[in-house]
Symmetry: C2
Subunit: 551 residues, 2 copies
């Protein structure tokens, strides 16, 4: 290693060489740096001493910035578990959602942790809680993070303003962990209020407009304002619950599939060519050339089947360069995709997808009741309904779905495909007739599907493909795929795709590929429609659309 060589000779006859001068300059630079470091160190130590409170002596004040200085290992309590700990002394880290002084002798704090809140109070006493402490406590900004040392006490009557209503905290010590360095754009309490039900349900983008005639029990914060200040908006109990439910959907998806022999794959999002279907793709500068962002893992997961993985799933971002700003489109969303080999019939795939979705629905209902109820307080909705009995999920053929709309007065002629409004209407009609929010439409016309879709063996104008719906909106699209390279190339040409432009994909089938099928779900759509959030942005942590790339 070059590093371990001894330094070269530095001084030659006739005075210092260039390298010696360099070295001296370097040494001076080093000394200067060391002096700067020492000064900084001292400054930091002073700052620390000034900020620090003596945990043993003082019972209020700000804590030092960097708390990694000792480790007494005192457990912090979870607000939602305090009802069973009456009389105990606990240590709690929480946000102050709101604070309120009552006269000169009491301060009430509403403390919040994720989906829960509890009341805490400081009462002036001669020994413990001083006037100064009360004043300091009442001056803490909303959304400050505090460390509270207090006793859990039963309340005389239920505290309506907190989710934990049967106990409260009598504060002994109160420390500030992190304060605020800016004005809040809105209060988290306001942000958690329901939307005005008198406004158009399908126009949530306008929520809070016409603030003058708004009812104060409803939130008046625009979705736009919320998303611009997403970090604050996400702190609402509603959003804490929404993203716990989002996480749970991924969990149930994986659990169902891994129990059935699927493995998780990760396919590249950077692609060499802009391919697949007509949907627009994003172009990326790739060193001296170009790459494209995958608009789905379709090609990769089919290649994984040709590579004998048999059953695969992927959870990953999907990119769509579509300039549409509807309530249900984003430029980046999470795809839950699967692909599997077929033994006898493509309904093996459809039934796996169906079973997986039902395991998500029942998983959420059975294990996340509290979170669903938390969301429903802000977004009231009927519980999501699906068939669980032996009759199974409602499966209609495309033709049967057309018949339902025709019966409702839509002329058959225009029904080569469904408009978004027709899909929504179909959802209403099916709910009325079959009492389910969840159903499958099977056997779509071949014309409506991408080139890789397997035609129906009896009627080549139809295909072995299906869409799944929740509350009248599509959440999943899938099909049996063509595994024969000759038929695949033929279909590509029919749809105007040059097989040579997708050579690695086509080659995978030339090397032998089993019959297979699959489908892809939009994670945020499932979440939005299960909870009836009415706008997909509410189901995405930091949503992206043609107009939004931040935060």
């Amino acid at each position: 290693m070059a590093d371990s060589q001894p330094p070269a000779q530095e001084v030659e006859d006739g005075g210092p060489t260039k390298s010696a001068l360099k070295k001296a300059a370097k040494a001076a630079e080093k000394e200067k740096k060391a002096a700067e470091k020492a000064a900084k160190q001292q400054e930091l130590a002073q700052q620390r001493a000034a900020a620090e409170v003596d945990f043993a002596q003082d019972n209020y004040g700000p804590l030092p910035l960097n708390q990694s200085q000792s480790r007494p290992r005192i457990p912090r309590a979870d607000i939602s578990h305090l009802s069973n700990r009456v009389g105990e002394n606990v240590l709690i880290r929480a946000r102050i959602q709101t604070s309120r002084a009552q006269g000169a002798k009491m301060v009430f704090l509403n403390l919040r942790q994720k989906t829960d809140s509890i009341q805490a109070l400081l009462v002036l006493t001669s020994e413990k809680i001083s006037k100064q402490m009360l004043k300091w406590a009442s001056g803490l900004a909303d959304e400050s993070i505090v460390l509270v040392d207090g006793t859990v006490e039963k309340t005389n009557e239920p505290i309506k303003s907190a989710t934990v209503s049967d106990v409260e905290i009598h504060v002994n010590k109160l420390y500030l962990i992190a304060g605020l360095d800016a004005r809040l754009p809105f209060s988290v309490e306001d942000a958690a209020r329901p939307l005005d039900p008198n406004r158009a349900e399908d126009a949530p983008e306008t929520e809070g407009q016409d603030a003058k005639d708004a009812n104060p029990q409803y939130s008046r914060i625009l979705l736009e304002t919320r998303l611009n200040n997403r970090v604050i908006d996400l702190r609402t109990t509603t959003n804490q619950a929404i993203f716990r439910l989002q996480s749970a959907i991924g969990h149930f998806f994986r659990q169902y599939l891994s129990e059935r022999g699927f493995i998780e794959i990760h396919s590249p999002k950077l692609q060499g060519s802009a391919t697949e279907s007509g949907a627009s793709v994003f172009k990326v500068s790739y060193f001296k050339g170009a790459a494209f962002l995958a608009q789905s893992p379709q090609l990769a997961k089919q290649m994984a089947i040709a590579a004998d993985f048999e059953r695969v799933y992927e959870i990953g971002p999907v990119f769509r360069a579509e300039d549409s700003n509807t309530h249900r489109h984003m430029t980046e969303f999470m795809g839950l995709d699967l692909e599997m080999a077929i033994e006898e019939h493509y309904h093996e795939v459809m039934e796996t997808l169906d079973g997986m979705l039902k395991s998500i629905f029942s998983g959420l209902r059975d294990h996340y009741k509290k979170d669903i109820e938390t969301v429903q307080r802000q977004y009231p909705a009927d519980d999501f309904k699906w068939r669980e009995g032996p009759e199974g999920t409602l499966v209609l053929s495309f033709r049967e779905a057309v018949d339902i709309l025709v019966e409702d007065g839509v002329p058959r002629e225009g029904l080569d495909d469904f408009t978004t409004a027709q899909e929504k209407r179909l959802g209403v009609l099916i709910k009325k007739k079959y009492d389910t929010d969840y159903y499958i439409i099977d056997k779509f016309p071949m014309e409506l599907r991408p080139f890789y879709t397997m035609p129906d063996p009896e009627d080549p104008t139809l295909s072995n493909s299906y869409d799944f719906f929740m509350r009248g909106e599509e959440i999943l699209s899938g099909a049996q795929r063509i595994h024969d390279p000759k038929v695949l190339c033929e279909k590509m040409r029919e749809k105007g795709v040059d097989p040579d432009s997708m050579k690695p994909y086509v080659d995978a089938f030339r090397m032998g590929c089993p019959p297979h099928g699959g489908g892809g779900i939009g994670l945020e759509r499932v979440l939005m429609l299960f909870l009836k959030l009415n706008n997909i942005r509410r189901a995405s942590l930091f949503p992206r659309d043609p107009k939004r790339l931040e935060p």
Copy 2:
């Protein structure tokens, strides 16, 4: 809806209107299409009839393209479970890895499913197996997918060429599900052979060069050739095992964290500005503007902490526009990231990361023994070693790590940071001294870390940060982060980053953020180093580097 209006009056005085002419043209078009459809339908039916074999009558031949025509629900057998089913008749879908005729009366097939293979044989008999059938069977191309109906029989002596060696299949019926439409670039059997151990271990890119003096027991297929034909390469038992292990790592990662109150988040990969650290980012054309691909979920996961999620993890692609083609760099890889609030000390985070990694190591060892052994047949390696006893994982400070290298002869002066070679050497020295392939280096100099790293409270030239190593290579980098906006802005300026260029990020801390820390693992690095695959591309399904965007 416009669709439900009655059609407008079509014929007026004086002959057909434009709209009537249009309609007639449309009708003619429709008729033509219908005729085309009918012709196609007939053609398809003929093709099918020609290809189809009568399952009841014929006992060999090709099966129809689209098998979704009936659903007798006959279960397919898993090769690896056949040892316990001697005497039973089974139906198997498998690849023909190789086939061999013995005289005119016998054909041997080596059948493969994922990580397993079994011998099957056809013997000429008067009633069942005809000469024609034998000839047809022996003509099937390697890698064809077949459906085999046969009887499980004990073998007289172990079959060395198959992983299931105590039983074989006596074939009664044999059907072709998918044949080959091209020449194989290499045989899967050859691709599964070990590499020549006499070649340089750290230069696997050159594997198989100088083919003239190669030993036939070793594979001579270049990594480049493998990756160009990745779908075939992935069919080896080795690769089937590698990607089952990759899937398992994700599973153990999530299991450990969700048991400890973490939720999974999904942060956007499309970003409004090119930020974070010095690493290069990819630029994306975004409608009329530009976006950038996230080089880590760093900013988003910290914002999730400021948004009160407390403990979050993410599994997602990470993009690095670095023009480096080493054995351990890719332009896209999978990041396993976590971030969590700290109560007392940043070692809470370090210990969580440590516990999580150890749960992955023991999970793989305890539940995936067979897969690890499968990989070791092609890539021989010592079992990965880590400390499991009460002494805990080896944690060295950066200074202690420097001392070890100095003791080994490296001059202290050059050791402000480690070179890749020094890291590797350190791994060897630590293995010798402590008998572990896994260790942590804590307390890195502040200078070496990004702006968001929390300085050490005692010595501001050091930081509350750590790297984790496997076999002398870094797999995880993490730290406590600065949660105070003023200190954060100061550090940003020191590192030459304008706080205004990252406003949404800085604002998150202005609204109050708890102390927190985290880390990010490279999934493929963990997999590569656990198995000692020597090149990260072997741990990625479809790897991406500056020179590779396909397949």
